[in-house]
Amino acid sequence: MSAAQPIILYENRFSDATPAASTTATGYSVLNVRDWRPYTWWKPTASPSTITVNCGSAKAADYGLVYAEAGTYEIRGSTDNFGASDVLKGTITLTATGLGLVQFASVSYQYWRVKSTSGTPAIAIASIGAALTIPAWPDQGFDPLGRKVHGEFNRSVMGNPLGRVTDWEEWSDELKFTLVSTDTGWTWARNTFLPAWRAHLRDKPFVYAWEPGDHPTELVLVAARDEFSTPHQSGSLCDLRLPVTGVIT
């Protein structure tokens, strides 16, 4: 793959209408897959398993994403509710519980589906939609790998190490993009980012991929902190600064 600009993943075809599952274990409603919470799960009872949504009319998508148990997940589209039309758009393979992403050329279908043929793995988040591409590269200093351990290191009175207890690991950063959208000046910030902020990013988790081309597995489920800013730059341009925090899973 070649390098690709950062993307934010939040738009979801499964929110266009009520999704339907092939089978559902008691207590594991399929509605859980669209709430962006990695702790509410849908679980099928039989394989192969599918989650399908009828968007009512053809709707575009260019990515599929799951937060799920280990398994293979296919992203499929259809014009006739998976009769004669059943098109595989991409496959996600997870070797452990976590996030997985596949991108494909934008295409519209009325019916979209996530399908698993590998047992009955549980899915916490499933999203098929149009990625929000940030038209700039991360500023110098962006740190995709750094993390902060929350916990305690214990040492004895005599100085001997006794043990470390880790509560969790945090990844947080201020996403900074200088001269974001140099082609269109303020237009991208005003017409693309701000609606996304209002629709989702302000109060719901989303997935950030800092370099989906060469590092497609470096995905983080994050939440915006309480603000973002777009400081003005001369020439009718602006920067974007978006502080986020997430958990290393």
Binding site: G27, S29, W41, P121, L162, R164, D167, T249
Partner: protein, 580 residues
């Protein structure tokens, strides 16, 4: 076991059990018949057919805000903090301070998928997770909650993999006392240990039966007003009742008439008397030559703590080893009083300790005495166990005693508890050496009254006075310290502590045996408090026949008592043992 490894990830889980109807709305036996969208939420508060409600349990699970999540399981990462005061053993008064734990949790918008069983028929719910849950579940008080912890080893990718069914969890059992909030997006749940029930329930139950007609001082029946008889069945028959200032023994009940025992008047030192129509008849609580710990169990059961939450085997063992027939109880309680008051009296008057161990999920009972010979007591030291900056030693000088007295054999339960003249016996133990000019040169005295013990318990009362002074003649040490999770410590455990703050005459560490009275387990460390258990001299069971003389005995054999010489010392110069 991951706790003994160096790098570990903490998983902290809080579970609360709330009621949930096991029926399905509108399906037999449920007789509700509302339209789609107007169903209940399977809780009693929202039930539309309460006569057919079937109480079940739904468990809600929460973990830390950033905690690793279990795959495929609903555990809400809402916990912001778990804190509070744990069970604290009281070596002076016996009844432990009840644990009170505060759990702070986030509130947030929630899809209601898990909490509304009929979500598919309704429009999207407004409100937040907790506001809706509490609106549908008013009756959460007294339901069980558990605080669970485990330390897991991260896998090769640094992931902490776990499930709620892992066997590695420790599980602390509490009851829900209160749920407050939401306030600024935060909920507070207060949890108490089940011994709290003993603070809320009284014994004997208040009864309100009235005499339907006047009776003489030798009446063979007590006629009650219509419909008032059944409340006297509480403790079975025979039972005892208080009418005026007379305690009367009842053999049986015939509808609303209580049948008096042939010699049932003027019981427990009270005086037979005639009684007027309308006089109240109060049920009494009586034990006759009861084993000490059986009376204790009766009180706990009455408070709502069943035997499945009591370590009955340990109780029996302690009773056999240290109490026995000298502590048999014959007593009559006439006034409804908090059960915890009675338990506290019994424990103080037997030099015993009682607490709820949230980990074993049972009430524990121990006589404040040395470990039995052969028991394993581990040592904690400053090299391998005690966390830097955590060791604090305090001398409990204010609790020192030089003499102790107990008044018992009360004239009658109807007489005033605090009037010294209502007790027929007093035993006292004085440590003249401790009061002498070369020692403390002061008098520190305590006097308690017992409504539980009579003349038949005189040996036990003498022993109580002696043991109390011998335990408290020298100031005990309170030691605070913290341990890494690799080292176990629970309230009630005996530990030998080797710390620089406790030395002998030469300055060498004086290994001190302590009983742990309190442990705050944060998951990251265990913050403990302990009290030294030293008596004036060491005391123990007398060594069995066939043991060698003291100088030749092993350390294990010296856990039994040997006879010293006239100077009070063993032949090698060691201090002698104490017979109390």
């Amino acid at each position: 076991m991951a706790a003994s490894d160096f790098g570990r990830a903490l998983i902290e889980l809080v579970e609360i059990d709330l009621d949930k109807c096991t029926n399905t709305y509108g399906v037999a036996p449920c007789t509700a018949s509302g339209a789609a969208g107007s169903e209940c939420y399977n809780t009693y508060k929202t039930c539309q057919a309460k006569a057919t409600y079937v109480k079940g349990t739904k468990t809600y699970r929460f973990c830390g805000r950033g905690s690793p999540l279990p795959a495929g399981e609903l555990v809400r990462p809402y916990i912001e903090d778990v804190s509070g005061s744990p069970t604290e053993i009281d070596t002076k008064q016996g009844l432990a301070k009840r644990a009170s734990i505060t759990v702070k949790l986030t509130d947030e918008p929630d899809s209601d998928v898990d909490t509304d069983p009929y979500i598919s028929t309704r429009a999207a719910a407004s409100g937040t997770f907790w506001s809706r849950l509490l609106a549908r579940n008013h009756n959460y008080a007294g339901r069980f909650a558990r605080v669970k912890r485990q330390l897991v080893l991260p896998d090769s990718n640094g992931r902490a993999i776990w499930t709620t069914s892992d066997v590695g969890f420790t599980s602390e059992l509490y009851i829900i006392d209160a749920i407050k909030g939401p306030a600024r997006g935060e909920m507070t749940i207060t949890l108490k240990d089940p011994l709290k029930l003993a603070d809320r329930v009284q014994s004997p139950f208040a009864t309100d039966g009235k005499l339907a007609s006047a009776v003489t001082s030798s009446t063979t029946t007590l006629p009650l007003n219509a419909g008032q008889g059944a409340q006297y069945d509480e403790y079975g028959y025979p039972c005892w009742v208080l009418v005026g200032k007379e305690i009367i023994k009842i053999d049986s009940r015939s509808t609303d008439t209580l049948n008096v025992n042939a010699s049932g008047h003027a019981q427990f030192g009270s005086v037979a008397a005639a009684h007027n129509s309308g006089d109240n008849v109060q049920l009494c609580r009586v034990w006759s030559s009861a084993v000490f710990t059986n009376a204790l169990k009766d009180l706990l059961n009455e408070a709502g703590i069943s035997n499945s939450y009591i370590d009955t085997a340990q109780m029996t063992s302690e009773d056999t080893n240290w109490l026995g027939s000298k502590y048999y109880i014959t007593a009559c309680l006439i006034k409804p009083t908090d059960i915890s008051t009675y338990i506290k009296e019994l424990l103080e008057q037997s030099n015993s300790l009682l607490w709820f161990d949230v980990l074993t999920q049972k009430v524990q009972f121990k006589v404040n005495a040395p470990a039995v010979p052969g028991a394993t007591v581990s040592t904690l030291d400053e090299s391998a166990n005690l966390i830097e900056g955590s060791v604090v030693v305090e001398s409990l000088d204010a609790e020192r005693l030089t003499r102790a007295a107990i008044s018992y054999a009360k004239t009658s339960p109807v007489d005033n508890d605090s009037d010294q003249g209502n007790y027929l016996r007093t035993d006292i133990y004085v440590d003249a050496d401790a009061e002498g000019a070369n020692e403390y040169n002061d008098v520190r005295a305590t006097l308690i009254h017992s409504r539980w013990f009579g003349a038949a318990n005189s040996n036990a009362m003498k022993a109580w006075a002696a043991r109390t002074v011998n335990y408290r003649r020298n100031a005990q040490k309170k030691i605070k310290f913290s341990l890494d999770p690799k080292d176990s410590a629970s309230a009630g455990d005996l530990k030998d502590l080797s710390v620089r703050a406790l030395t002998d005459y030469t300055g060498a560490n004086d290994v001190t045996r302590c009983r742990i009275t309190k442990v705050i387990d944060t998951g990251r460390r265990r913050e403990a408090e302990a009290i030294s258990t030293t008596f004036r001299n060491r005391y123990a069971f007398i060594a069995p026949n066939g043991y060698p003389n003291y100088p030749s005995a092993t350390d294990a054999q010296r856990e039994y008592a040997f006879i010293c010489d006239a100077s009070g010392l063993m032949s090698n110069g060691d201090g002698g043992y104490l017979i109390i």
